[in-house]
Every structure is written in C-alpha cells, then in structure tokens.
C-alpha cells in the first residue's frame, strides 16, 4: 500500500484578479522585482554585462537603422529587453543550447555568433541559414512557442546520451498562450528534461497587452500546473536575470528538471519597424520604463561602486560603435545569392521534379544573363 492519500490537499482557491493587470512600474520597480543580485554581484560579471548591454543596445539601433535603408526586410528591436537576452545567454556554458525566438538576436550574438549571420532571416537572403551547430543556437523561431518542444526534445536527447547539456528556450508573453507552450512545459516536467524556459514578458504581443493575454497572477505561476519551479525576476536587472537563470541551469544540469522563469521587462520600441505603437499605447507608459532602463540601472550600480568611470564608459561605447560600423559596412554590401540554391536543400537529394524545375530556372537565368 502506498501513501495514505494519493493526492495532496486541494490547492487554495485562486481569486482571479478583478483589476486590470497593472502595466506600469513605479519609479524604481527593480528593487521590488529583482533579486539582490545587483549588490552581491562580482564586479567582473557586472562589467561584462555592461559591455554587452551597451553593445546590444547599439546592435538594436543599428539594425533598426538598416531597415530604413532597406538593408533588412524587418527588424524586431529588443531595446529595453537587452538585459534578459544578454544575461541569460551569458549564463550558458558553451556546450549548452539556445532556442531563440525572432526577437532574440542579442541572445544569439551573445553566444558568439556573427551578427550578420544572426540577421540572415531579417535581411531576407535566407531563412536563418546559419549552422545551428556552430554555436548551438537553434534557428530563430518565427511560429510562436514552437521552438519550446524542440528545446525539450534536444535536452531530453542530450540527457539520454549522458551529455551534460542544458537547453535554454526563450519565448514571449504572448507565446505563453499557445498550445505548444503547454505541451512543451508538460513534456519537460514529465521527462525531467534539463531545459530552462525563459519568458520575456515585455508587456505586449504586438498590440495586445498582457491583461488580454492572461488572467494569471503572473506568468511564472504557470509553472505550478506542470510541477516545476516558477521564478519571477526583474528582466531589466541584468545581474538578477543572470543569477536566476544560472540557478535554473544548475538545477537542470544536476538532474533537477526544468524551471519556468518570467522576466518582466518592456518593449521600448514598436513591435517591429513596420509597427506603429502609438496606435495602442501611451507615451508616458513608455517613458516610465525608459527610466527603468537596464543599462541605466547597471550604470547606476557600477558608478555607485566606483567601477565605472568615463574611460570605461567610453571604451564600451567605442566597442559598440566599432561593431555597428562593421555591421553597417557588411550589411551595405549586397549579399551574393545563387537562386539555384532554392532547390539545393529541400531534400537530401533533389527529386526528379526539382531537377526539372531547377533546369527551368537555370534556363531563365541564363537567358537573363544572371546565373553564376
């Protein structure tokens, strides 16, 4: 005979919120939302985070500028969310895997990927195109939440093979509503897969605010229904994100199973350059979040601790500027594309009809004098 009751006592009754989900932080919400990681953190970590945040911000502004010059098809800026992406990616070991969503370019860059390759999808010369195995970065995923079960499957496979590998999967607040989110978290918990789910709750899914997305007390609360730990963190507090993600990774690595982390942040820019955010939100709200900027917060801490002087500040800015200049230059060169590649990777071997079709295109291109 097993335990006396085969169920724990019923959960307490949750009273759904009656007030609309409040969206505005107070003047200094990070202290409420963050851990005390900022104060406790190692100076080197803080400085490394700082450099990368500055770089990340510059990457965002540069990429957005490139859309205006027609050099990118579209760019979903993560300005304001740099701390989430940079700190989380930095917490990974090299052997670990990252499963980014389309907005997570900075997470990919932080893993060491060539920024131009990261931008392939958004530039429009191929669909992500890069080799995921090089830096263990899965293709930036566009269909929302669909990358989460991939992360679970990969983590599960790694564990079965006895490899000490954890998968970090990123998703947005909107993405948590998709069925794939549910199925992935459930599989992860049942399989105790070494995977960490990080929700960047930036307040919006395009125009839809969080209050229309969920009635849960927090997105982190969703962990409860899967039997995994849920963690809530100030997503603009880089050391806090780093700490919470590191703990979750360690837990996963040591066989403790998955964790769901909600990082509360804000999408400062419109959804993409093609979006017009003034249609659905007010400037004062954005302004409040600007004052809670992740770079500002870190600067304040670093300055307070005497770790950041003008020189250090300038060297970070210079490095970012150099990256931007190189990016600009490389992106301003037209990519050399071979239209025949359209048929190259549909199957391991071209089917008969793909051979026919590629001949058709080759003939057209020859006629146009355009093929290589």
């Amino acid at each position: 005979m097993r335990a006396v009751a085969h169920r724990p006592t019923p959960p307490p009754a949750w009273q759904p919120r009656t007030d609309p989900a409040p969206l505005l932080p107070d003047a200094e919400p990070h202290r409420l939302l963050g851990t005390d990681a900022m104060a406790g953190a190692d100076p080197e970590l803080l400085l490394s985070l700082y450099d990368r945040l500055v770089l990340g911000r510059r990457f965002n502004t540069q990429a957005t500028a490139l859309t205006k010059q027609g050099r990118l098809a579209v760019y979903p800026s993560s300005t304001g969310q740099e701390a989430c992406q940079v700190a989380a990616a930095l917490a990974l070991e090299r052997r670990d895997w990252l499963f980014p969503s389309y907005r997570d370019t900075l997470a990919a860059v932080t893993r060491g990927m060539d920024p131009v390759r990261v931008l392939t999808l958004l530039r429009g010369d191929w669909h992500t195109g890069y080799d995921p195995y090089e830096h263990r970065v899965a293709p930036l995923s566009t269909p929302l939440a669909t990358q989460l079960p991939h992360a679970v499957g990969l983590a599960h496979a790694a564990r079965l093979k006895g490899d000490d590998v954890v998968a970090l999967a990123l998703v947005g607040d909107g993405g948590t509503s998709e069925g794939d989110f549910h199925e992935a978290l459930n599989f992860a918990a049942v399989w105790r897969a070494p995977v960490v789910f990080l929700v960047q709750n930036n307040g919006f899914a395009i125009s839809v605010p969080l209050a229309k997305q969920t009635a849960a007390p927090s997105l982190a609360h969703k962990a409860v229904g899967y039997g995994m730990p849920g963690r809530l963190v100030d997503g603009n507090d880089a050391p806090a994100v780093h700490q919470v993600v590191s703990e979750a990774l360690a837990r996963a690595r040591s066989g403790g199973g998955p964790t769901l982390i909600e990082a509360v942040t804000y999408r400062i820019e419109a959804h993409t350059n093609a979006d017009d955010a003034t249609r659905y939100r007010e400037e004062p709200e954005v302004e409040l979040w600007r004052r809670h900027d992740p770079i500002l917060l870190l600067e304040r801490e670093l300055t307070g601790r005497g770790l950041l002087d003008e020189d250090r500040r300038r060297s970070a800015a210079d490095a970012a500027e150099a990256m931007a200049a190189e990016l600009r230059e490389r992106m301003n060169a037209d990519p050399v594309l071979d239209p025949m590649d359209l048929f190259a990777h549909v199957y391991a071997e071209k089917t008969g009809q793909l051979r026919e079709q590629s001949e058709l295109l080759r003939a057209e291109l020859t006629a146009e004098g355009e093929t290589r």
Partner: protein, 340 residues
C-alpha cells in the same frame, strides 16, 4: 467620425482591396448583430494589415475582439460562438499561422454540419491573408489553399479584385457554411474605382468569371495570379495569341461550368497559381478539366505554379513566383503548330 463622413472620405479616391474588405466587415456587422470579429490584434490595432481598423471603435470590443495569442483557441472559440448563433469572422494573422488551428478546422469546422445531420451548421468565416510577393520573412508567404481544398465541408474563396473583395467577403459572412476566405496579401493595396458608397450586389459564391474574353487558349487562375495572367494575356496578344482569362474566385465549390465552357471554346488551357505545383490546386483543376473536355483539347492542360520548394526568402522570391514570362512560355508550349 460618423459612418457618413468615413464614406465621403473613402469615396473621394479609388478604394484598395484592404478598404473593400474592411468595408465588407463593417457593413455585415452593421446589418447583422450576430457578426463578430475575432483574432490577434484585430481590435485596437486594427490588424497588422489594418483590415479590421475601426471595427472595435465602431462596434465595441465585444464585437471585434483581441484574443489571446492561440489560433486553435481562436477558431475553437469561434466554433462555440457559432454554436450559439453568432457568425464569427476569424482573422488568422498570416497563412502559416493558421496551421495551429488545423485540427479545429478539419475535424470540427468542416464537419460539424455533417456530424449533426445538418442541425448544427457553423457559419464561420476564416480570413487568411495568403501568398507572397510582399517581401515577407519565412512563414509569412505561404499559399495554403491545397490543404483547404482537400477538406470536404469547407468552402474556399479568394478574391482577385477590389470589387470581389467586398462582394465575396459579404457573401462568405452571409453563407451558412464555413468559408476559408483567402486574401491575396500582395493585392491588399491594389486599387480600383469601386466605390464603397455604392456597394455592389453580393455575388453568389461558387461562380467563376471570365475576366478577359479570348479564343486561343484559357488561362485559369485566381487571387494573386489574376493580374499576372491579365498582363500575360496583353503580352500574348502582341504575339498573336488571343487568351481568355478565367478568375475562379471560388476554389470550393468549383465552377466546372464556366471553366469548361471556356476550355471547350479555346481548346487549350494553362492553370496559373502561386502555390507549389505538386499536390497544389492546379493538379485538381487540370485533371477535372481534362476529364470533362478531353476531346476538345489540342494540348495537355499545363500548369504554371510556384516551384515545389518551401516559400523562398524575400531576396529570392521573384525567382519563385510565376510571372508573365513563365505564363507565356507555357502558352507557347500549347502545341499551336498541331492546329494548323
């Protein structure tokens, strides 16, 4: 702004397909309180293509609702709403993002009438912006009509003109069957002198139309490929081929009558669409035309379609999309010499 001033403003300049679609929903909602619009970003934002712009302002959030981000949930909820007597109009944000709702569409939307012996029809319109040519990144340019055509119980409708965009969408919303309403996104901004102040009468669903009369061969097409075919027909005229262009408008039900009447007259046909060729709509169309018109055919019915590949990235899409030249090449292969 009152509807009257909106009208006056819109009437002042040629209307776009996007405006016609919006107007169709607006008029349907005004006439019938059971019409409800729902989807991602359809409310405050008015949809990423602004097709539902102003509906929430005019009819309230309960009539035009921003849903949580979950397509199966949206369509599933629409099923329940339809069960209770509403006429939901669902927006799928892009073609590929309708796939999460596939089970609801195939196993419920298409079958509820049949399952209940006609007691519980589901008058749901599923609007799906489809096709490429707008420089969209992956998953934003699929032509998914083959999936819907292969599903009995669904009507599949797609406008190619501004006027039809209005008329067919009104007809779809009014239909007692579920309709997958495919909107050719690269025609959203195409214009015509159709005036939203004088809505045309609602055309019946299931009727093709001859867009250009001709005698030498028939181009059978729909949606985003109609302009391509009309342009090809103009170019062909210069080479001495007089092409007839048929716009299907409705893939299901299929208007065999109009299509076959044309092909019997011309004796030659090319099916043109942007969807991949293999397993795409063209196979069905070519096969049924051949079955019905075999002895009138001077040449096999040919197909000009997208390649059998995943939709390409923006920088390569022009190589994929069937253009005027490919249509003319196919026309040239219609064995004209055999005739003389």
């Amino acid at each position: 702004m009152t509807p009257a001033t909106t009208e006056a403003r819109a009437a002042a300049k040629p209307a776009t397909m996007a405006q016609a679609l919006k107007r169709a929903m607006r008029d349907a909602m005004a006439e019938d309180p059971s019409v409800h619009v729902l989807g991602e970003d359809v409310g405050t934002l008015g949809g990423v293509f602004r097709i539902t712009d102003g509906l929430a302002a005019e009819f309230g959030d309960d009539r035009c609702t921003d849903t949580p981000l979950a397509e199966a949930g949206i369509l599933g909820a629409a099923v329940g709403m339809a069960m209770y007597g509403l006429r939901p109009v669902v927006e799928m944000q892009f073609d590929a993002f309708a796939y999460p709702a596939f089970e609801q569409l195939i196993s419920h939307v298409a079958r509820m009438r049949n399952r209940t012996r006609g007691r519980m029809p589901l008058p749901i319109t599923v609007r799906v912006p489809y096709g490429g040519g707008i420089g969209g990144v992956e998953h934003h340019s699929d032509s998914s009509e083959a999936y819907y055509m292969a599903t009995p119980g669904l009507q599949v409708v797609t406008p190619a003109t501004v006027e039809d965009a209005y008329g067919l969408l009104r007809a779809a919303i009014a239909a007692d069957d579920p309709v997958v309403f495919l909107e050719p996104k690269r025609l959203y901004w195409s214009k015509s002198s159709w005036s939203p102040t004088a809505p045309a009468k609602v055309p019946p669903l299931g009727r093709a139309v001859v867009r250009r009369p001709g005698t030498g061969a028939t181009l059978i097409t729909y949606g985003p490929s109609l302009p391509v075919c009309l342009e090809a027909a103009e170019a062909a005229a210069a080479e001495g081929w007089d092409l007839e262009v048929v716009d299907l408008r409705s893939l299901v039900p299929f208007d065999d009558e109009t299509v076959c009447a044309s092909v019997r007259r011309t004796g030659r046909a090319v099916v043109v669409h942007e969807s991949t060729g293999f397993g795409g709509p063209g196979g069905e169309i070519a096969a049924r035309v051949t079955e019905r018109c075999f002895h009138h055919l001077e040449a096999p019915v040919l197909r000009v379609a997208g390649f059998d590949i995943p939709y390409p990235p923006p920088m390569l899409e022009r190589h994929h999309l069937p253009g005027v030249d490919r249509v003319l090449d196919a026309v040239a292969r219609l064995q004209w010499e055999a005739e003389s």
